[in-house]
């Protein structure tokens, strides 16, 4: 199968049912995408497949054949994506484990809805769990990245 991962063409010869998550982590060595639940319940593994946010843990790699995959490592060259910058400015992460997935979901949201309402933020981020409880800062950082005031 041929995948375009973070702008680079990659040939992978694996079980076509293998979830994209394990292809990224175990085969391609891209460990920024995290395993959290394996059932699309927590969002830690969120990546973009042709600009759509998908859960890599339930996406068989065959579905990515011939498509572009963007992971946290490819969201920007140097951490300069507005979402990444807002995340640092507001010191969103605590343990940091879920944050790659949160950032990828937020970036996909802002690509579609450049000025989302709080309800739209809650709806699009509902699939991303954070056990440390950084949700209020996540919401504020999305607003900041969108050029909105941080507080509603």
């Amino acid at each position: 199968m041929k995948l375009r991962v973070n702008g680079v063409d990659r040939d992978v010869d694996v079980d076509p049912d293998m979830p994209l998550l394990w292809v990224l982590r175990d085969i391609l060595g891209l460990t920024g995408t995290k395993y959290g639940c394996g059932e699309a319940l927590c969002g830690s593994c969120t990546v973009h497949l042709d600009d759509q946010a998908v859960r890599a843990c339930v996406t068989p790699v065959r579905r990515a054949d011939g498509k572009a995959v963007t992971t946290i490592e490819g969201l920007s060259k140097d951490g300069s994506h507005p979402v990444q910058k807002a995340w640092l400015a507001l010191r969103v992460p605590q343990c940091g484990y879920c944050q790659a997935g949160q950032i990828m979901s937020a970036a996909a949201l802002l690509a579609k809805r450049p000025k989302p309402s709080d309800d739209e933020i809650d709806a699009s981020m509902a699939g991303n769990l954070c056990r440390c409880g950084t949700y209020t800062r996540i919401r504020a950082a999305i607003r900041k990245a969108a050029g909105l005031p941080e507080e509603p």
């Binding site: 059932e39 940091g96 484990y97 509902a126 950084t134 209020t136």
Partner: protein
């Protein structure tokens, strides 16, 4: 080894720092030439200062906090401070990142690390200038002699300083608090932030070693269960599966032992998971196969309806209840709670030539070292434990069962092994927080004043994980919100009642305080309504006037007080009142227009926290939590920014506990499987605004990571009562909404 560049502590001026983490092949960073006056501090000839972080980073910010504290005491420029993560080694002192203790217990000793280096650098400069050391100051990475305006950089002093005798710890003079300016900075940056947001931070599963294989393990679903039979052939037929290995059977007491079961070793995680699914195991569930949560609930309610062991006794409650104008009585239930760190357990081990090296997200690297040595039947000096970032811990990762599994398999297979737990494994094989039942009774006089307080608590003690005969909470365990409870009532009795553990019990963030604060915090609200008075006024009445409680006042022989002396960290009614007054002022307590408010407060980990939760009616569900206020008095605070973050997180975890908390058991096995039924708060469940407040204080530092959580659940229940009139006394609350 990984070397990265980044600016550290941007709030203090951007700079360059090299972070060295022993995450690759080398057992530790090579010892560079220079000056190492303390195990946590090294200064190179170019002035680069390396501070060792000996505690584990799991989101509380300790890798940002310890270095800034040492740097501040030393007088170092944070931009020239590199941070190195320690391996597990007794030479660092207590590394068990647990009990909200990193700053609370080590504030002075961390400062002494910086002060030792400073004392020697100052002595070296004074000697060179032939002046008195007292006339020199260390600041901005230099020793300065203000009268003559001379200065020497730390690097320039390294050679001379390293020849001086290291002063004894007791002779070290710490800076006055007024000189510690950096620790009080409101906006310190996150040390690992830039790597986290770019996906390059290294968590447990991100370590890859040459020839490494991946293992997943099918563990007995019931504690103490065994494999009766299984099909290795079917599993070995899966492409990529290399080996099937029987794990050693765990024997009571469970302690930190691996769990047993069958391991499938493969070249990818996916192949290992498929192999495990093909094992077709028949289990012998053993004697705990009779554990059912509904029966346990009945058993525990029966336990608190009969007298237990009296562990706190003041005055004469029987007489007071006999004279009561009114009696209030209620029972509260909290199930086993799950840790659910976002990073499932994982460990990597390599065993070769009699040496073992481990990489793991562990809260307790010294315990891991001991357990790996036990499993490999070797001595600890043959075991190296490298600590990665932890994707959450909450107490689960202080147990080293998962690390022992990796060491065992690496030895058996002869190549490095990563043991990967799935979310289902994490839920099924947790060290569950104790299941709890409580019965509370209060006697009121005709004015509504509480004249007697009677508390019975039953919970499965953690001690049972280490001693199977432990079936009743001990005096030490009751300090978490029972024997240390601040009460003005002249007659108080607390009793510990029996509860037999039939699964592994462990500590989970805030531990027994969660259910004690839930019961006490709900009960004080019930008293308020029974006497027809405002809950805030009732809280202040129940606590009574500002005073410090002696053991005699508390009616106990002993208070372990989280390992702190009572004169340093008293049980202080005034501080508890203060956080209540502050949080209710911030929340505009008297203004209930369009909202319902719930209040609770609690002392734990020698800190004081109060919480107000606001709930509003919601078109789609019974209610929505729309705003929260939390105020904490944690004494002297280092890194305020991370303390605010901990308070925000505590509110969210407290909401998760309250609304959704709980694991239940059927025939000894955990009913929950993944986040669909082991629920935690999602973004829409939490308030849009969380207002955090740190009480300014010069008191010794107390705990931060845990004490924010306990008052949240009762504040939620009290707010729900205020909105709906429904008193919810059993967690998870969402089941009754």
């Amino acid at each position: 080894m990984r070397i990265t560049r980044r600016s550290f502590l941007a709030g203090l001026g951007a700079g360059l720092v090299i972070s060295v983490r022993p995450l690759r092949a080398q057992p530790a960073a090579p010892v560079a030439a220079g000056f190492s006056p303390h195990v946590l501090v090294h200064i190179a000839a170019d002035g680069t200062t390396t501070v060792v972080c000996h505690r584990s980073e799991m989101g509380q910010g300790v890798r940002s906090t310890i270095p800034i504290l040492i740097a501040d005491e030393l007088g170092a420029d944070p931009a020239r401070v590199a941070v190195q993560q320690a391996q597990g080694d007794k030479k660092y002192g207590d590394q068990n990142t647990d009990g909200s203790s990193s700053i609370r217990k080590q504030f002075d000793q961390l400062r002494r690390a910086g002060a030792t280096a400073r004392t020697l650098l100052v002595a070296a400069a004074a000697k060179r200038w032939k002046v008195k050391p007292e006339t020199c100051v260390a600041k901005n990475h230099q020793v300065v002699h203000p009268p003559t305006k001379r200065a020497l950089g730390f690097g320039e002093l390294v050679t001379a300083a390293s020849k001086l005798p290291v002063p004894k710890p007791e002779s070290i003079v710490l800076r006055p608090a007024s000189e510690l300016k950096r620790i009080a900075e409101p906006n310190l940056a996150l040390l690992d932030g830039p790597e986290i947001v770019t996906g390059t931070a290294t968590f447990g599963a991100d370590i890859k070693l040459p020839d490494m294989l991946i293992a997943v393990i099918a563990r007995p679903p019931v504690v103490g269960g065994k494999v009766a039979r299984y099909d290795a052939k079917r599993a070995l037929a899966i492409p990529g599966v290399k080996k099937i290995i029987e794990m050693p059977q765990a024997k009571p007491p469970w302690m930190f032992q691996p769990w047993g079961g069958i391991a499938v070793v493969a070249d990818t995680t996916w192949a290992a998971l498929r192999g495990r699914a093909a094992l077709d195991i028949t289990w012998d569930h053993g004697s705990n196969g009779t554990y059912n949560s509904p029966a346990m609930r009945d058993e525990m309610l029966a336990s608190v309806r009969a007298p237990g062991t009296k562990l706190r006794d003041v005055g004469n409650i029987d007489e007071a209840f006999g004279k009561a104008a009114k009696t209030v009585e209620a029972e509260y239930l909290v199930p086993h709670l799950l840790h659910l760190p976002m990073e499932p357990l994982v460990a990597i081990a390599r065993v070769a030539n009699g040496k073992a090296e481990v990489w793991a997200p562990t809260q307790h690297p010294q315990a891991a070292r001991k357990e790996v040595a036990r499993i490999l039947d070797t001595t600890e000096d043959n075991v190296a434990i490298n600590v990665t970032l932890l994707g959450g811990g909450f107490g689960r990762k202080s147990k080293s069962d998962f690390i022992g599994e990796a060491a065992y398999l690496a030895k058996q297979v002869g190549v490095p092994i990563r043991v990967q737990w799935t979310r289902e494994d994490d839920i099924r094989h947790d060290y569950y927080n104790a299941v709890s039942a409580q019965r509370l009774r209060a006697a009121l006089d005709p004015t509504g004043k509480v004249t007697a307080w009677h508390h019975r608590t039953a919970f499965t003690p953690i001690a049972s994980t280490f001693d199977p005969t432990a079936d009743t909470p001990s005096l030490n365990e009751l300090q978490q919100g029972v024997t240390d409870l601040v009460l003005a009532a002249p007659n108080v009795r607390a009793e510990a009642c029996k509860a037999t553990a039939r699964t592994r019990i462990g500590w989970y963030r805030s531990v027994y305080n969660i259910f004690h604060a839930f019961a006490v915090g709900s009960f004080i609200d019930e008293i308020a309504h029974a006497r027809g008075k405002d809950p805030r006024d009732t809280w202040l009445d129940v606590i009574g006037p500002a005073k410090q409680f002696s053991l005699a006042d508390l009616g106990i022989a002993k208070l372990s007080n989280y390992g702190e002396p009572l004169d340093k960290h008293p049980v202080d009614a005034g501080r508890l009142r203060n956080v209540i007054e502050r949080v209710t002022a911030a929340a505009r307590w008297s203004d209930r227009k369009g909202r319902a408010l719930g209040l609770a407060a609690h002392r734990s980990f020698v800190s004081y926290t109060a919480v107000v939760i606001s709930v509003v009616p919601d078109a789609k569900r019974t209610m929505r939590i729309d705003e929260a206020w939390i105020a904490m008095d944690a004494g002297t605070v280092v890194n305020q920014e991370r303390v605010h973050a901990q308070l925000e997180g505590s509110v969210v975890m407290g909401i998760s506990n309250a609304l959704y908390g709980g694991a239940t058991m059927t025939r000894g096995a955990t009913d929950q499987t993944n986040f669909r039924d082991a629920k935690i708060a999602r973004i829409g469940d939490v308030p849009r605004r969380i207002h955090t407040q740190i009480v300014p204080s010069q008191a010794p530092p107390s705990g931060v990571g845990e004490p924010g959580v306990p008052p949240v659940a009762p504040a939620v229940a009290n707010a729900i009562f205020a909105l709906t009139g429904k008193r919810l006394r059993e967690i998870p609350l969402a089941r009754s909404l």
